[in-house]
């Protein structure tokens, strides 16, 4: 038997090397000074934070990121919950359920970029939807807001991230004893009554985990929002990206720290609502 400290050593090393050190460095650099033409100068200054927080662009970017997060969260939850519900409680055959579950993962067989770009011929000005609507005479001008808009950003996010909501909710639901649903019906619950009083509370863990995935993915994204909005919208991360392009690492680091704090706050509030750790060992 190895001593305890040796048993935990590998994980500790991995976590330290790939998590604690990089985050520590980012926090450290966020207090450094940036000098044009010189680069990073070691220092201890709050200038980067003050710069960011007094800059209205930062606020706009965060606002738009939070807006996207909330919209995408709502849509992926609605989709994820019903798809998982359907797979778990309506598909009686296990093989069919697994098959349908695999179908949900089909979008992940191609790369992120292709999945996003493939929306262009669908949503574009001369795309599938617009030409179909034009040809059937529903509209006589192509709808402009289908592509390069908040709408297309949300569409892409939902397309990319719904699976991250389905999987944990599916997992929670699959563990619900079917006789609980019958017991609820026996006690006079309607279909909605069963969902609201039994299925939803017992899927809380999955919903919380799914929400966590979606929040972190959307908050950390700048690529989807840039491509799908045609550069019209940005996200908090785009601010970081811009700073990096100008080699302004200190300000990028400060922005990263702010983003990290916000995501951690959201995560903390999710965990406050649902005791995920307790539920996972159940």
């Amino acid at each position: 038997m190895l001593p305890t400290y040796l048993q935990v050593a590998p994980l500790t090393v991995v976590l330290t090397l790939f998590f604690v050190v990089p985050v520590g460095l980012v926090v450290l650099v966020s207090f450094f000074r940036y000098q044009m033409l010189v680069g990073i100068v070691p220092d201890f200054t709050l200038k980067n934070y003050v710069d960011l927080l007094t800059n209205p662009t930062t606020w706009t970017l965060y606002q738009s990121t939070l807006k996207f997060t909330l919209i995408v969260l709502a849509i992926t939850f609605a989709l994820g919950f019903w798809i998982a519900y359907f797979l778990v409680f309506h598909v009686r055959n296990l093989l069919t359920a697994i098959g349908l579950f695999l179908v949900c993962t089909v979008p992940f067989w191609t790369s992120n970029i292709i999945r996003m770009i493939s929306w262009r011929p669908v949503l574009g000005k001369e795309g599938l939807i617009n030409s179909a609507l034009l040809n059937t005479g529903v509209i006589d001008q192509p709808i402009e807001w289908l592509l390069y808009s908040d709408f297309s950003v949300v569409v892409a996010y939902v397309h990319l991230f719904t699976l991250f909501m389905i999987v944990p909710i599916f997992n929670s639901m699959a563990r619900i004893d079917k006789s609980l649903l019958e017991a609820a019906v026996d006690a006079g619950a309607s279909r909605w009554g069963v969902i609201w009083n039994v299925v939803l509370p017992l899927s809380k863990t999955g919903i919380a985990l799914g929400a966590l995935f979606v929040v972190t993915l959307v908050m950390g994204d700048f690529f989807v929002v840039t491509v799908m909005s045609g550069g019209l919208s940005g996200s908090a991360t785009s601010g970081i990206f811009n700073d990096l392009q100008f080699l302004n690492y200190p300000r990028a680091a400060a922005n990263a720290v702010i983003l990290l704090i916000i995501v951690l706050l959201i995560a903390a509030s999710i965990f406050r609502l649902v005791d995920v750790r307790k539920e996972l060992v159940r």
Binding site: S179, L180, E182, A184, D186, G188, P201
Partner: protein, 394 residues
């Protein structure tokens, strides 16, 4: 009890609450191409304690679930009282089901579990909690009202499940193997409590079980089932002492089944001859038993006496020779298993008689009985269905 009837008044479910008689008419249930239950006709009288008894997979739970409304019959009709209930939700049927796993809501406290039915009827929080608490008092669990189901023992969980079923004020209570998850001691205790509860409430209980002693101890009416069919539905005494078929005789335990060819039939006094040559005297009151036809009879294990004997030649009528295969001490009696004429034959010998003249494994013995203890079965034995299962009874 008075609190129970008082609770009946706010109930607005359809139908009259008086009769809890259950009538199944030609009920069939198919899963895919397999029959779970095949054209069952059964009437369970109002206010009786009925046990559906049979081995796993015989369709007893399917019948229960169809009465409860959790399964729809493929064809046939189910009546509760005067109402045809197929297609109606459980609450309108006036049934309440207690699930095998109890199916308590793990996210709700005991009190809210019991109050669930009232919540579904939009009864206010204070009122429904008050009523649920009364119900918990009835099952003596009011001191645990704020616990979660996982914090209760099996017996306590079952009481909660019972309280949750009874708060719906059902006219029929359906119990799916309610005692199977309990240990021996609790099982006997709860068995007694279920029986006295049924006496007190006077509603119809339908109880699914695969344990014969449970059915015999509890039921006014025992329904013995064999793969999708009802073999016999009668009171416990008749089922145990006068089984109709070899299957029921075997399944209930306590009986030996013997088969022979009718040798003679002189005005009801007949003789049978088994394939190995033993003769049995039988009272035949049914004229269909013509000479030369086959007939099966049953004799109770505890009405058999055994003595040491050597060869079949010395064996008279109403006896069978065999070799002792096993002896098993059961306290008040000894279960002696013989291998006789290629079949198993069991004699339950009182301990006094056994120890006066003990036999051991390998001893040749002769088992004898009085001809009046013979009971003629309506079907010829074709070998026990589900034999491995049948050895449980004593």
């Amino acid at each position: 009890m008075n609190t129970m009837t008082a609770k009946a008044t706010p109930d607005t479910a359809a139908g009259t609450r008086e009769s809890g008689e259950i009538r199944l008419v030609g009920v069939t249930k198919k899963f895919g191409n397999a029959y779970a239950v095949e054209s069952i006709d059964l009437t369970i009288p109002h206010g009786s304690y009925c046990c559906l008894l049979g081995p796993s997979g015989c369709g007893k739970t399917t019948i229960l679930r169809m009465i409860a409304g959790h399964e729809t019959p493929t064809s046939g009709e189910i009546f509760i009282g005067e109402d045809m209930v197929v297609g109606k939700p459980p609450v309108e049927r006036g049934t309440a089901m207690m699930f095998q796993s109890y199916a308590l809501f793990p996210h709700l406290s005991i009190l809210d579990n019991v109050a669930f039915y009232l919540k579904m009827r939009n009864v206010g929080k204070e009122e429904r909690r008050g009523k649920a608490l009364e119900m918990l008092e009835r099952v003596q669990l009011d001191h645990l009202k704020d616990r979660m189901p996982a914090q209760l023992s099996g017996g306590q969980q079952q009481r909660v499940a019972l309280a949750r079923s009874l708060i719906t004020n059902p006219k029929v209570l359906l119990l799916d193997e309610p005692l199977s998850a309990l240990d021996e001691f609790l099982r006997l205790k709860m068995r007694g409590e279920l029986k006295s509860l049924q006496d007190e409430l006077g509603i119809t209980f339908v109880h699914v079980t695969h344990t014969q002693p449970e059915a015999i101890a509890l039921a006014d009416m025992v329904v013995v089932m064999d793969t999708g069919r009802i073999d016999q539905a009668d009171n416990a005494n008749t089922i145990y002492n006068r089984p109709k078929t070899p299957y029921v005789a075997r399944f209930m335990g306590g009986q030996n089944v013997l088969t022979g060819t009718v040798e003679s039939n002189a005005g009801g006094a007949g003789t049978l001859k088994s394939e190995a040559g033993s003769t049995f005297e039988v009272k035949l009151n049914d004229s269909s038993a013509t000479v030369g036809s086959k007939l099966s009879i049953a004799v109770r294990r505890d009405q058999v006496t055994i003595r040491r004997g050597d060869e079949a030649s010395s064996v008279g009528a109403n006896s069978i020779a065999g070799i002792v295969e096993a002896t098993e001490y059961q306290g008040s009696y000894v279960k002696v298993t013989l291998r006789a004429e290629g079949d198993e034959f069991v004699a339950n010998v009182s301990d006094r008689a056994f120890f006066a003249e003990p036999v051991e494994t390998g001893d040749p013995v002769v088992a004898t009985w009085n001809p009046e203890d013979i009971h003629v079965l309506s079907k010829v034995d074709t070998g026990g269905a589900g034999d491995s299962y049948l050895d449980g009874g004593h």
